[in-house]
Symmetry: C2
Subunit: 148 residues, 2 copies
């Protein structure tokens, strides 16, 4: 099948398939006499694997690792699990960061009238030296002192 069929069946856009080939995430595709790329069901299966992995937020590098494990019939499932565990840790950290930011914003919004008047605790806080208590601003306060 040609690239657009492989794209439809795998969920990976044709352009992205070419890109994956260019960065060696997938092997070079076979070509027809006229230079068209040709894909097999096995290729589509691999693309689908990549697609799903990317949707779970694995980086392309991590996907390459997962692909290698997938194709290594003698892998240990513990190795796969470790990759997934690292990803979960990253996600947890990201969620914690976003939650902290969210709480700060909601707190500021709560204290802002949100009307026609110009005075606004949100802007005040952004402009403030101490920077809206979004944790460790110690260094900044210190720099201000040092430069005085």
């Amino acid at each position: 099948m040609n690239i657009s069929q492989a794209a439809r069946r795998s969920g990976v856009p044709a352009k992205t398939i070419r890109y994956y080939e260019s960065i060696d995430l997938i092997p070079e595709a076979d070509r027809t006499a006229s230079g068209y790329r040709v894909y097999s069901d096995k290729d589509v299966e691999r693309l689908r694997f990549i697609h799903h992995s990317r949707r779970l937020g694995f980086s392309v590098k991590e996907v390459a690792d997962l692909l290698a494990l997938w194709e290594d019939r003698s892998r240990a499932s513990a190795d796969v699990k470790a990759v997934a565990a690292r990803r979960v840790d990253e996600i947890d950290a990201k969620i914690a960061e976003l939650t902290s930011i969210r709480d700060t914003l909601l707190h500021l919004m709560d204290r802002c009238h949100g009307d026609d008047r110009p005075d606004c605790p949100i802007l005040d806080s952004l402009a403030d030296t101490r920077g809206c208590h979004a944790a460790e601003q110690e260094d900044e306060a210190e720099e201000t002192r040092r430069s005085a």
Copy 2:
């Protein structure tokens, strides 16, 4: 003061200050006779505002909007609050997405032995046509049908 002092006091790296100038987020700095950039306390204040805004995850474009509001003494606090509200919505969406991915990964990890044996539900799921139930795979199933 010169750029590295402004960087220390504002928390924005010197390189980033130059970058902000190049994209017109901040006005062109004055220069000494020899071409060095010169910054005032007011400039540092603005940089600090930018720094805090960026830490709350606002894009550079949004920071430009916030800066404009900050410098507009006749702004309405409702406008600022609206920008913050949009940001909160984005964060909520992102957290929901990450949480969903996290749950999927934990579910898969739960069913993986994580030992020396090669069989691994995580890889199986990534390879599966239905793609680890991470929501709306309807289109993919449909494409598979259509191409059959």
